[in-house]
Subunit: 319 residues, 2 copies
């Protein structure tokens, strides 16, 4: 039998995952859970792939907005697009979250889902991370890919439950994570059906339908999955309620696993937690970890490798 | 090899289903579709189970409202609950759709999803159809159960996309249809997360989030499934846009199958189509059937049996 979770160092973290899976899949045991109730939920940004210095989707929005503004003088004359076009990222940042939301709306809505997905697909083929020397699609965490595979090999259904746009993630989640579109849950805009040249199309409207973060995550799980998760993987306070729901929610009598990816490796990836503001802040969930029995996966200590493939392509090599 | 679709009479309807499945699963053929793109969507009321004289969920709402009003003098003194309690169903009907919506809201919201599901579960164990001599859970269509099984045996993912409440259907869909909760899409109320005695729960709020009918169905498919269906089964104008979307939507280059269950059997079930008002009206979709290539399954002509088990338990025996 081949070793499970080969990119995880031996220790209490790896052991906690293996012990949990062993218990719920032991048909003779009191903790056995039937496969249709083995639901595992994963945050995406910072849990399955890199989210620093900015979440990948924000880079897409910036690039798409620059392209759009360069063909639209009216848009180019307005903030935050004006700062974006001139490369004044400090100027964009100074305009705060409302500016980012405006950029996202301008680039994610008013088009059909198919047009949006094709745009993301094209972008992903060439875009690269600003400091890590890789395409974004290779900034997934090898140890987490192994957790996904390990769980599925043990009968689990694996779902993404993320604050990212559902259509953004669906472009790469199946190929990258083995998670097909129906098992990807994320933030959504409202949409409507139109017929264009006899073809029915779904158009994305500039009104937020669901911002899938914090307390919205358990509600989204209830709505989309309809079943109590028994395993949850997150990395920030945005995942806190989803972790709580997984650990204490009722509906299946079984052990639960809550795991927090703790970004401790400034050399190979990034180190951040309590002090972080824009994304990935880990503060309240960290305080509650012991009480809820959540496992902290320390990236520096627990992970042999961070990204798939050669370590030569890691952060250090690019600097 | 055992015969496929044994409850379907030989003829063009059965042949259309078999031909479609054969084409998209023929690995050497030009119409081959990989299993992860074999998405089939099914309406529920009138397509998978009986919806006459009223949809099953309405009977649940009536019974639950009567029970609630009998313990709540204030509620019992108000219409439509007053008429409902005295058994004055004509009085309830006279108050029209707003009265039914009020009864549904009163019985489906303000409680946790778990409480709601337990209530439905208990009700389904004893409730029986008013004229067909069966529990509601046995009013599923045997030929459609065979279609579900046949499609899944051929690698299809089968989804319900219905105007019924998602939580209502999830109570019985897995056992009855083999369709697990994550593959059940339906109407939803808004919800929120609460903590009660340290337990996180999802409470259903009295505000409609999605009425999953007509043009909302393709949008819901795009949001929940994220992939173009290639087979769609419906029975009424409520399924028209979903059928159109399946037949003409872009995103997968493959043959499509649209099938409409036509209720033509007044003896064994009910006969209704254009003239029907409250639910199951089939008018515009019927007019378009030839243009879109939709197959009409004539229940009287095409189905050997309607319900599972002995025909002795069918409508005639109960009268």
């Amino acid at each position: 039998m081949s070793e499970v979770l080969p990119s995880w160092n031996e220790g209490t973290t790896k052991q906690a995952i293996v012990d949990f899976v062993t218990r719920v899949t032991d048909e003779g045991g009191s903790d056995f859970v039937s496969p249709n109730r083995r639901i595992a939920v994963f945050d995406n940004d910072g849990t399955l792939w890199c989210e620093q210095p900015l979440p990948v989707q924000v880079y897409y929005a910036f690039d798409a907005a620059k392209e759009k503004a360069s063909n639209d003088p009216e848009l180019a004359s307005r903030e935050p697009f004006k700062a974006l076009l001139t490369g004044d990222m400090k100027g964009v940042s100074a305009q705060g979250m409302p500016a980012i939301i405006e950029i996202v709306k301008e680039t994610h809505t008013g088009i059909t889902i198919k047009e949006y997905e094709e745009s993301v697909q094209t972008w992903l083929q060439s875009a690269r991370h600003p400091t890590l020397d890789r395409p974004f699609s290779e900034l997934v965490y090898q140890p987490m890919l192994e957790v996904l595979t390990y769980l599925r090999a043990n009968g689990f259904l694996t779902f993404i439950v993320s604050g990212g746009s559902v259509e953004f993630m669906r472009v790469f989640a199946e190929e990258t994570y083995g998670i097909a579109p129906p098992q990807v849950i994320g933030s959504t805009f409202k949409t409507h059906l139109e017929t264009r040249d006899g073809i029915p199309v779904i158009v994305i409207d500039p009104e937020i339908d669901l911002f899938d973060d914090k307390a919205a995550k358990p509600a989204a799980i209830a709505k989309y999955i309809g079943r109590q998760p028994i395993a949850c993987f997150g990395n920030s306070d945005g995942d806190r309620e989803m972790l709580q729901w997984t650990s204490r929610g009722i509906g299946v009598d079984a052990p639960r696993l809550g795991l927090i990816v703790h970004h401790t490796d400034a050399e190979r990836e990034f180190a951040y937690d309590r002090g972080h503001v824009l994304s990935g802040k880990l503060d309240e969930a960290w305080n509650e970890a012991a009480d809820y029995g959540w496992v902290l996966a320390d990236m520096k200590r627990d992970w042999k490798t961070i990204f798939p493939g050669a370590d030569a392509k890691s952060k250090r090599a690019s600097q």
